[in-house]
Structures are given as C-alpha cells and as structure tokens.
C-alpha cells in the first residue's frame, strides 16, 4: 500500500514519505500544522485512496481515554436489574465498545483518526501509550484481552494547544504541515476549482498572500479560508478587475469577511489600507 496523493488532495513529497513510513511500519502518524492546512482531510484522503474504512474519534476537552476503548454502563445495568430484565445476567450486554475497540476488531484493516488530541486533558495521551504501541488493551470487567487483528493505520492531529508527552511522541511518526507556498497553493486550488480562470486565480492569490503577510493579524487566513473565498468569488461572479489595483497598493478586496474572521483584524486591515491611500 502506498499513498501518492489523490485527486482532491495535493501532497508534498515529505508528507507522502511520512504517510508511507507510517503505513509500512503501522505506527501512528502525528500531524501538526496551522489550522486549515488540511490535517483532518489528510486522514480522510489517505483512507479513501487506500480503500480503507475510516473510523473517527473527535476529541473534546471532556473526552477520556477510556471512552475510546470501552465504557461499562453500570447505570443501565442497575436499572435493568430492578426491572428484572434477563439481559442483566451477562455483563457483556453493558460493555459499550469505543472507537479503538471497533478499529482493533474490524474484519479488514482500517484507518483511525484521532482528531485534535491536544483538546483533551494533559494526561490523555499518556493513557493511550500501550494501546497505540502494542495495539491491545485489557477489559477489566470481562477479563478479556482485546488485540488488534490488523494494526489500524492511526492518524493523530494536534493544533498545538498543549504539549504532548515525550513517551507518546516517541511512538509516533511526526509531520508538520507547512503553510503551502504559492506553487503548491496553485496546485491545491486547481484541484478544487478546475475551471478557474488564470487571471482571477493569480489576482486572488496575490491578494491572499498580501493579506497573510500583514503584520499583527490575530488569525491569518489559511488554505480553507482561501478556498471558501474563491468559492464566493466564483459564485458572486466578481470580475478580475475588482481584485486588481492599478498601482501596487493594497485595497480592501471584495468579500474580505471570508478571509478575516475577527473584527479586530478587519479593522486593522481597513486602517492599513486607509493609511496607504493617504500616503499617495
């Protein structure tokens, strides 16, 4: 199995190598990068390119590692016992399987996405060390050992909100998705908008990188925001001329709200444009 990028996803060489190393050795791949650079997309695309079903586990601040393995629903067992339900004699009926269990016991190899692992408690990754390393865990209630039939292909994404423990990092391959340079970006846009006019794309990209390079922005627009913005530009049929300015000054591009998501950033941007106009 090799991943070569896909029709919807432009992968750079270093990314492909990292993914292939993870596929070959069946080790988890930890993906970091600015928001909107396609970390979650990567898992989806690799899974569909390799024809693997994708199981997703989205982490929240309240997620516990145990929930990924299994949960013992003691409360409903207690209720059933009061109602005299026959089910109650078998504890198996009250073990709720988590995503990792499903991934380990699947008939065929699967891909597993653990999304935004940094959202969880600081101890969360430590609780999954053995599970991700040996791909097995022990069910205390039924005294059984769940072991992976096929080691799943694990993708873990992080937005760097918390440091991950060293012991956890040692067990993963690591890839940092850089913000794409202009050429890669053109390829990415091509994939999403095949018929886009060259001039419009060039003008839009120039504006986009101009906005991105403004100092002091709180949230820099990312790839996904560029794609949204292009979609809007195409839908509203904005002419190319609206994006181009005769001189080299920055102007407020149409539909700038798709790029800047923060009113402070918008004000800052407008102020800068205004200042530049006055300097003419």
């Amino acid at each position: 199995m090799k991943f070569q990028g896909s029709e919807q996803y432009v992968a750079t060489q270093d990314l492909m190598l990292a993914v292939n190393a993870a596929i070959t050795l069946r080790r988890p791949l930890l993906v970091k990068g600015e928001p909107g650079t396609g970390k979650t997309m990567l898992a989806e695309e690799v899974a569909s390119a390799l024809g693997l079903p994708l199981l997703q586990w989205h982490i929240k601040s309240t997620t516990k590692a145990q929930q990924g393995l299994y949960e013992y629903d003691a409360v409903s067992r207690l209720r059933d016992s009061q109602l005299g339900d026959e089910k109650v004699r078998d504890i198996q009926n009250y073990i709720v399987r988590g995503v990792l269990w499903q991934a380990f016991t699947a008939e065929q190899p699967v891909a597993l996405l653990i999304d935004e692992i940094d959202k969880a408690d600081i101890e969360f990754p430590n609780d999954l060390l053995r599970e991700l390393d040996r791909m097995e865990f022990h069910v205390y209630e039924t005294r059984e050992l769940v072991r992976a039939r096929h080691r799943p292909l694990v993708f873990i994404t992080s937005n760097n909100e918390k440091e991950l423990p060293d012991a956890f990092l040692r067990r993963c391959f690591f890839h940092y998705i850089k913000f794409p340079d202009a050429d890669t970006m053109r390829a990415i846009v091509d994939v999403h908008f095949p018929g886009l006019r060259k001039e419009l794309l060039a003008a839009a990209l120039k504006t986009f990188y101009d906005v991105r390079n403004l100092p002091g922005l709180k949230k820099k627009p990312s790839t996904s925001e560029l794609l949204d913005w292009l979609k809007l530009l195409v839908a509203e049929e904005i002419p190319v001329e609206a994006l181009q300015t005769r001189d080299e000054k920055v102007s407020v591009p149409p539909l700038v709200g798709a790029l800047l998501k923060n009113e402070q950033d918008v004000t800052l941007f407008e102020k800068l444009v205004f200042m530049q106009r006055n300097h003419r």
């Binding site: 090799k2 060489q13 270093d14 190598l17 990292a18 292939n20 190393a21 070959t24 050795l25 080790r27 930890l30 970091k32 309240t62 409360v75 207690l78 209720r79 009061q82 600081i122 918390k162 440091e163 991950l164 060293d166 990092l169 040692r170 067990r171 993963c172 391959f173 690591f174 890839h175 940092y176 100092p215 002091g216």
Partner: protein, 394 residues
Amino acid sequence: MLIDFFYTLRSARLPVSVKEYLTLLEALRAGVLDDDGGPSVDKFYYLARTALVKDETHFDRFDRAFAAYFKGVEMAADFTRDLPLEWLRKTLELELSPEEKAAIEKMGWDELMETLKKRFEEQKERHEGGSRMIGTGGTSPFGAWGYNPQGIRIGQDKGRNRSAVKVWDQRAFKDYDDTKELGTRNIKVALRRLRRFAREGADEELDLDDTIHSTAANAGMLDIKMVPERHNRVKVLLLMDVGGTMDEHVHRVEELFSATKSEFKHLEFYYFHNCVYDFMWKDNRRRFSEKFPTWDIIRKYNKDYKLVFVGDATMSPYEILQPGGSVEYNNEEPGAQWLQRLTQAFPKYAWINPEPQGVWQYRQSIAIVQQLMSQRMFPLTLSGLEGAMRLLSK
C-alpha cells in the same frame, strides 16, 4: 554509519531516543525509501525527520545538524547557542558611524548578519584553539570597519553593579520558554494550594448522595442525579519582569511559568521590564509594536483575579520613584504609582522574587517594592511559593 548520525543529532541537543533511532532503521529495512526511483538523500532527510524529530521548533536544529553530518564536517559550532539577531543589529548600529552604516546598507543587513553569525560560530571554535579573531584577516567585510565581537561586547551588556541607570541597547528579550517540564513537578504541587474548585457546566458526574436520597424517596426505584464536574476556578494575572538583571534567573522563572501555565485554566500573563509603567506586553519579540496599556489591563480583569508579580525588584530607586525614571523610555508617572494602582485593583496580590532572601536587605529598590507590596514579597523557593499561595487563597 548511522550511529554517528544519531550521536550528531544528540550532540546538537535534539531529544532523540534509541527507540526512535531503531524506528528509523526499521523503516529503512522495510524499504520505505525504495519506490519512486529509489533512495535519495532528500528522501532520507524527510524520513529521518519524520521518525526522529517530534517538534517543529526543532526542525531548524535538525537541519543544521543534518547538513553538518552530511558535509562530513565534524560539528564544532555550538548549535544550542542562538545569537539574538535583532540585538546584534542594534548593537552594531550603535557602534557604527553614519558612513559605515551607509556602507553596510549597500551590502544588505541580512547578508552581513548571516556572515557575522557564521564567523562568530567559526571563531568560537578557533578561539578555543587560541588563534585569530574576527576582523584581523583583512579580507573579511568586518575587518574593513575595524571592529570585532569583543569591541562591540557581544554578550557583555550587563552592568556589573546591577544598577545601570540607562540601558541603551534594547535587547531582543527571549520569551520565557514555558515548555520546560523538568523540575516543575514540585512547583506544581506548591501551586496546588491555590485551587478553588467549583462545579460548573454540563451535568456529567453521578451525585451519589443525592441519588441515594431521591431513590429512597422514590420507594426504591432508581432516580439518578447528576452534577457537573469540579473545575479549578482560580484566576491568575501573572506579571513578569524580563531582561537585564532577570537574565540569571531565567531558568527558574521558566520553570515557574511552565508550571503555572498548565496548572491554571484562567491564566493571563504580561511582561514588563524592571518596573510596571503605563504599558506591558505579551510577546517579547513584538514588545514595541504590541503594547497593552496598564489601564486597560486593570479594567479588563475582575477583582477576583489574583495578581502575582515575578521580578527581582533590583533596579535603581529612580526607576520606581521618579517620573521619567524608566531605563527604556520617558514615563510620565512613577512606577510606584502604577504598582499602587494595580494592588488597589486586585486585592489579592503577591510578589515573587527570584533573588535569594538573604540579599534583599542590601538592595534599596527591593525595600521600596516590599513596602509598596505591604510586605507581601516571597522568595522563589518551594516554601516561598507555598507561603505566597497560602496568602493568595485566604
């Protein structure tokens, strides 16, 4: 052969473990590099990086170590030492005459800095061997202007009697690294005293007492009662002194900062230099462009924030008592007034001082700050921290 590579990385202070090294070997044996036209150095570079380096902030260090190894050069330069570029530039600007500056402008600052940096690394190595210095070769761009790192005092900007009245060179202060985990455990335990738990948010936990009570009331049929989980509700406003005399305490303050950052959910921090005046900043690299007015900070946070200063309070007394006493700019109001405003706005406050308690009495400025803080100054030791936390949680 790759053993040497591994040790090259280790000597570049990359935290590479044996396990990761074995993973790399395993990947090589499994033939990860074999397709698409066979192995190449580029591919090996990517593979080694993805297997060995787990933090993008280490990529730069890895690149340099990789280059050093594959050029077959033994790594002599010290990778752990990073020259603050901005500061070098500032220092140079001060040392040069206008004509010289114009000459440099022609050459381009960046290029010059890069060359200087390279020379500096080279020179460190040669200097230990005891031969030549920057600027004596006659052909280097630096020789033409006739100065050398000693002449411009790289790394010697600290005043010896620790009371410099004007610090002219505006150093690029390094942000305190809050990723340090070593040795922070004890500090965390001390900080735990400052916990205030409160139940807030969605019902997630079984409330056993209430469940039993209402089940009994329900004639034995179960009636589940849930409560929200407990969270630490303490809010901390941390103001930290950076630069100058604080340089020698950086290590311990980093540890403290690292521990506080993970301990408190509501932690706000700002930096100041020596004494608080009418603005502070959050990012030391952009400290002159992104200022936060102290008034705004006072208004922004509630009274229930606990105010913690971290600083050595070692400066000339002018810096606290006189308008215009700041070493960096002309402040309209004396620092003492700002300190008073802050302590009035936040009734729970403490000052943590990394200087050993024994020397406090010999420093006039510490006595003044002590007084302004109504004696709530604690040394940066475990017992000192515990004392401060006990006071703040009262």
